[in-house]
Symmetry: D5
Subunit: 148 residues, 10 copies
Amino acid sequence: MLSRAELTAQILDAKRAKNLTFEALGKAINRHPVWTAAAAYGQATCSAEEARALLDLLGLDPALAPLLQEPPLKGSLEQAVPVDPLIYRFHEITQVYGTAIKAVIHEMFGDGIMSAIDFEVDIQKKSDPKGDRVVVTYNGKFLPYRKW
Amino acid sequence: MLSRAELTAQILDAKRAKNLTFEALGKAINRHPVWTAAAAYGQATCSAEEARALLDLLGLDPALAPLLQEPPLKGSLEQAVPVDPLIYRFHEITQVYGTAIKAVIHEMFGDGIMSAIDFEVDIQKKSDPKGDRVVVTYNGKFLPYRKW
Amino acid sequence: MLSRAELTAQILDAKRAKNLTFEALGKAINRHPVWTAAAAYGQATCSAEEARALLDLLGLDPALAPLLQEPPLKGSLEQAVPVDPLIYRFHEITQVYGTAIKAVIHEMFGDGIMSAIDFEVDIQKKSDPKGDRVVVTYNGKFLPYRKW
Amino acid sequence: MLSRAELTAQILDAKRAKNLTFEALGKAINRHPVWTAAAAYGQATCSAEEARALLDLLGLDPALAPLLQEPPLKGSLEQAVPVDPLIYRFHEITQVYGTAIKAVIHEMFGDGIMSAIDFEVDIQKKSDPKGDRVVVTYNGKFLPYRKW
Amino acid sequence: MLSRAELTAQILDAKRAKNLTFEALGKAINRHPVWTAAAAYGQATCSAEEARALLDLLGLDPALAPLLQEPPLKGSLEQAVPVDPLIYRFHEITQVYGTAIKAVIHEMFGDGIMSAIDFEVDIQKKSDPKGDRVVVTYNGKFLPYRKW
Amino acid sequence: MLSRAELTAQILDAKRAKNLTFEALGKAINRHPVWTAAAAYGQATCSAEEARALLDLLGLDPALAPLLQEPPLKGSLEQAVPVDPLIYRFHEITQVYGTAIKAVIHEMFGDGIMSAIDFEVDIQKKSDPKGDRVVVTYNGKFLPYRKW
Amino acid sequence: MLSRAELTAQILDAKRAKNLTFEALGKAINRHPVWTAAAAYGQATCSAEEARALLDLLGLDPALAPLLQEPPLKGSLEQAVPVDPLIYRFHEITQVYGTAIKAVIHEMFGDGIMSAIDFEVDIQKKSDPKGDRVVVTYNGKFLPYRKW
Amino acid sequence: MLSRAELTAQILDAKRAKNLTFEALGKAINRHPVWTAAAAYGQATCSAEEARALLDLLGLDPALAPLLQEPPLKGSLEQAVPVDPLIYRFHEITQVYGTAIKAVIHEMFGDGIMSAIDFEVDIQKKSDPKGDRVVVTYNGKFLPYRKW
Amino acid sequence: MLSRAELTAQILDAKRAKNLTFEALGKAINRHPVWTAAAAYGQATCSAEEARALLDLLGLDPALAPLLQEPPLKGSLEQAVPVDPLIYRFHEITQVYGTAIKAVIHEMFGDGIMSAIDFEVDIQKKSDPKGDRVVVTYNGKFLPYRKW
Amino acid sequence: MLSRAELTAQILDAKRAKNLTFEALGKAINRHPVWTAAAAYGQATCSAEEARALLDLLGLDPALAPLLQEPPLKGSLEQAVPVDPLIYRFHEITQVYGTAIKAVIHEMFGDGIMSAIDFEVDIQKKSDPKGDRVVVTYNGKFLPYRKW
């Protein structure tokens, strides 16, 4: 059978061949384009309906659905530190602003973290005469550290 | 003279001793708390006025101002991959959602990146009966790849 | 002022000099010995009362309390992969049983994780004629992956 | 012949196709689901009966049994530091609480380690109105350091 | 379908078989040889016309064009630090002269960076009786750090 | 006596205190600002006159001259992969365009390298209504591979 | 107070100054020279008598005894892979003969490991006309893998 | 033709299929089981007779003999630091006892090393009522450092 | 078509099958055995005549010649630090004697390097009653650092 | 007392202050300049006479002699892969020519290595009208692999 990585390659090939966007795929399953892309890249788990709808839209074998419904081994990069410039900028923000973000979150919320599980990402285009801006919003539940 | 790392330690000691927040420090220099924290952690460059005001508020030697006005060697973490759980979650988001975010930005903007230089971060607390949420917004100029 | 690492060294020196255990320290602040040790090693945040009581019991300067009350930069090991044999065994368990634990948690709970924040550790000694056993219990809230 | 990694892939494919759980597989061989999953992932050694029963239940070639009966080259992760969020949390616990756990085990047992060989893992779901909890128990023989 | 790496291999094979240079390929699409080589190595995105012209000149399947038009996952080296001596020299220049280049750019432009996106490279041969010289010119937009 | 790193710190402190630029320091010793900065950062070797003139202008102890005249252990970064965003962009250029630059240099010059020793760097500011540009020129002797 | 690393330095300085061998130190505490050296290097835990006797023989402050009696954070090398040629050869043996040793131990004992805790090392000199030989004996309890 | 790694896989498959031990293979070529296993794992070089005898006993193609007679690229592990628990214990011994072993060998032999080339390994099972022991003996020529 | 790594494998297979030495291959193309081996391992560039002669002698497809004539992506090891004991010794020499060699070359030549491009290696066997000696000679042009 | 690294710094400071060369130091102790430099950098062990003569010539405290007579923890570089360009070239030679050198040594000597212990380095300047050449000779005993 296919590995999850081979299924991702099949999905991306079919998406390219059919000239589909993640927005279109997302609409078909009532999900945000970023979540849909994450599912395609093997980083999220589909329900049976989502799996069926995605494979159907892409013209792929419906027998692959169970693979999409299984919690995958996550991690979409091949290196600890990403090399692709777009993805690296997110790493750089963590490197440069990480301690500042930590300090301000602790100031606002106390000791704890922003969950990356009870979490969602949104991406918007904001027009600007000096050049459009990418606005990425991370929205995660605050989890206070339990003391015992 | 002090190294930049020693100046950061002095600033954090004085801030703790005077029980000040980054919000308060930011107000004194008309800057966002995250930018102010970044400046404190040696990740951003102050103007002469900002340096003077910060040192004054913290009760530190005004002769340290030129060190705050010099572009620092940036990078606030000691490792390539952060270990602190709050900061690690931002790394995890890049690892898990990096390819999805890349795909959707390319879909919306074409080939290019979100700048991490012409860029700002905001952090908000969003009340939620199931637990407050941390909302972090990245806002960076889209830079299309130049072809030549 | 002291760095957090220097404060940890002072705490451990005082604890040794006074021949105190983490159990005793924990009792003084109504906390579990593991949490108390984590606080001593700079991995957890004390309340004002906890900080005061700890410093008092150890005979350390009460002016150090604010340092104990500040969320620390966490990560108690100097390497990504621990070298100390006792600590390494925990890494080995993750290496050898990590995929099995993941599979079984997903089987029991669906896609999500065991929180390491809303989390506690307990350690017990279980007598056994063939050699006493160490029983370490991890107890963390299950966090289901949010889909959006 | 198959490599051990290819056999793992076959086992996981068959398990998915037959919609079996590790709990079911474990019952068939009288083993705990975590141990059974470890065997499936190539981290433990089956007896002849266990190998035969597993392959039979999964509908795989019984000639593969000797591969399951051979002590495998262990280590189930592809990186030194895991990236998958569920598995990473176990690494984070070692990073954050490692020194505290070490200190408390030494306090209770003296110098030595918790064995990761004479060792077992259990996973339980504990209902909680604020959200179910994952309870993972490590149970390993204490091995005191030999002096000579 | 082909992966991007396999397409690069096909392009390089066809280029070798047809004895073409990147200069010739670049002329056919009105692009600089370095940009053309970058596109061939999977580091830049072709327009539909560029993709068609390249595949046509190389005698490759025109159905591969969409793969060339998709923003690739960039990063042309297999290691963090390059090993090939020609490429390593560029790494060495960054290692040896990096802090000096940083200091002089900040002196001339203030705090900010040279963009690697709004950027182009040129390579010239400069005759010299003591041995020809390679002249590589990096030309990138200065991006001042935004303060907020 | 001072280590080379401590001498670099002294030079940078004196330069800041006297409000000097690398351009000014370079003029005093008839050297390019980038070379002068490299010497300051411990990456190049001064002649006796250059060492004397630099220390004199900076008001530092002339007895330090021999340290400046000794070939230093080169490498100005603390990591294999730089983290500072300005310096990282040079690493990124090597990562993204490295194979393309290699291919074009080989096409123009045959097998060999651009020397990083018989080499110089120049930096210019090029005005541009859309934003000034940083133009960095690498000029190194071509060294053909010797065959024997 | 001293850190464990500083105590190791003091012990080695005193041993050199008094021209003592680890054999002599070992005799004084009734321990093998290798175990004694391990204790000196901060890799093993002394009893109260051993600590007292060692410090006495070395002429060091008896108040340091509790530091020697505390289980240390073990790991005597500064790198994951040792660089010193004598120590590297042991790493090389693991690299070259590791899989063979594993296979033969499993053949003789079944699945399990040689303990490195219930373990001792001996070193002997074996005269040989072609050059004396170093004979190092590892003696560790076999620990069979527990199945559950 | 086969790569050395593929030949190793064939040898191990044949050995399993024929239910042979390394002891039996070693007897057939008059070699120690550990050396024989090392040859099987591609870490040692067979003579023509040894190669012929091994392939014959395993029922493999005699034309593969030259591959077994060629000095292989040695190194049997895929990582710098082994992950398999049995092999890791040997790494741990080097980490924990490396400096002690070095000190004692220098004390007994002067400056030099134990050769890992003019070297042999033996493994014995030593019965013990508290649990059998693995006794591994390293026997290498002492090589004194040459001074010139 | 073949990748360069596959061509290396073909060359080594043919060389083994025909029982040829690098000395013999080198004679056929009038090159030193080390250079010839480097070309075989994909680390040097053949002329058309050399490529033709090599392929002819080895009985390989003459259409592969262009691949041998193309400057390869160099670097013959799979790791940053070699594991094979013979190759590792060269790494160890760099580790142990690197700073001494650097100091003496600077003492004899001033600041600069030994070229690894305008460079050749020779290997000789020197008979010695105590054991033959390997004499490896590195001969590289001295390149003085350019100042500008 | 001094650490070995501090003693190296003292030796280099004294050597600079007295304007001595390693050639001169070597003559004073009847040793080659490279060996003498290695001893200075903490990579070789002096006899009592050598230690005394070196310290005397450098005007250092004769009480430091025992530190020079003790086998040091070797390894003169701070990284696994050297960054200094002169030293890196030796690493590059190992990377590029390592497999070729290995193949030719095996061809000439059979399976075994060139010792890096029973070993010496020589450096000569060879005049050449096109530029002087650095000739570095490695001379190590061949050690054949023992089979057992």
